[in-house]
Amino acid sequence: MGMTMTQKILAAHAGIEEVHPEQMIKARLDLVLGNDITTPAAIGEFNRIGANRVFDKSKVAIVPDHFAPNKDIKSAENCKQVREFSGKMGIENYFEIGQMGIEHALIPEKGLAVPGDVIIGADSHTCTYGALGAFSTGTGSTDMAVGMATGEAWFKVPGAIKFILKGKPGKWVSGKDIILHIIGMIGVDGALYQSMEYSGDGVGNLSMDDRFTIANMAVEAGAKNGIFEVDGKTLEYVSEHSERAPKVFKADADAKYNRVIEIDMGTIKPTVAFPHLPENTRSIDEVGDIRIDQVVIGSCTNGRLEDLRMAAKVLKGSKVSSSVRTIIIPATQKIYLEAMKEGLLEIFIEAGAAVSTPTCGPCLGGHMGVLAKGERAVATTNRNFVGRMGHPESEIYLASPAVAAASAIAGKISSPEEVIR
């Protein structure tokens, strides 16, 4: 029987010829990832196993990014524990403040994920590296602990939904709009326990940053992973960022899919997800009059250089509304520096936005932009659950950087077309 791309990668890492959906396997890991929220619990479990070293010092990555730079004393203690563990274990890929970025932007940038890898991370958005043609998925702290100790993880082999992307996204339409559109179509459990496999002529029209955004939100559709077919753009990205050799897997022609969905990207409009689920999507012309108090542009979903360029294109020469607190967070130090060199930071600050050092902060209501009761935010983040960004009676509208920037200017959810001068 033919296998999907994910199934082929898993089979290769389980050391077997063939796998089938629902099969239980143990797979070899190329990278085990954790952050300041999930690693402290993993350290406790790691010690409980009785392990005294990690399976491979070069294949564990730890990034304090959620409540870092330390937001309070408890977070400082957690970061300290993670730092000391990393030092004691000799973990080569521990990224301290000043080096760190939001983990899912940082790991590809540092060349730690390449096509064909199997990666687990104690963070749900670990699925981001599927953009590179790797199998990567979020797990909990216990899996991270066992992964660090043994270099292995258990998996139930997933079936898949095949997305055939066609055409070219229109003006102001980005990877974020495409993935919100898809989640709106299939629902937040539409891909439960399955892979979302992307192929088709249209993939070539998507930048790597678009693909990272689309793979990143696979978990918001319930998927185990999102994965893109490897093409020239992928290989170019990998050769620029990594010294490791990519292993390219391609789905068999007779691979079985639970569902095949064709998407003409040319028909997708800028899309917004209304509270309190990412599936509550509306196209920008259907949003109505929604006044807002805050805009956040950043996160593992949309804090990359292209995202910032898009926001700058909209904000250039304009001022954000005096009633909208606008917070822009480049996802890594490298992106921050590039944004500075390109003059993007100047555009943001001139427009009246705050620019911050990399952190996940506001996305999960940690710090740097927590919402009060009754407040509304447009965010380029990934979840709009009840209380996600602060008070349980606050509201989050998920959108692209272009829509978020336009909304910051207008003081209400708006299309870039409405505000561009």
Binding site: M24, S75, T142, A149, L364, G366
Partner: protein, 164 residues
Amino acid sequence: MIKGRVFKYGDNVDTDVIIPARYLNITDKAELAFHCMEDIDGDFVKMVKPGDIIAAGKNFGCGSSREHAPLVIKLSGINCIIAESFARIFFRNAINIGLPILECADAARDMENGDRVEADIKTGRITNITKGRTYQAESFPEFMQDIMKAEGLINYVRDRGKGL
């Protein structure tokens, strides 16, 4: 055999309402458990008793990978979650930490707050005593059952003494 009273919730109960991120800097387990289900059911921690059961709709535990979510539910005294379906990371985290879960759409849909329910994790047999109905949940693959028998992945790995 698990026997308890039902706390019923709807579809897509996410990890942010199970344990809001504002508490994720807490490492003391008892303190963490005090906030279990806080943003969906403020009375939960006051009402829950050891041995009780959570019943829910589709996609229970969606969202973050935080293991704090199944952990606070386990620490609160809940003995089993019966749902129409689970979000996959929550599913594996529950198994990995030894929190019994069962997937059974009919049983979960029929259950109401306060129902008395009996569940056998080994056989997947669920009895709603209040309603006088029985159900059969999906059975777990042998490997997952072994992890559950060991009350979690750490014990399983430690007992084997040679990796996964």
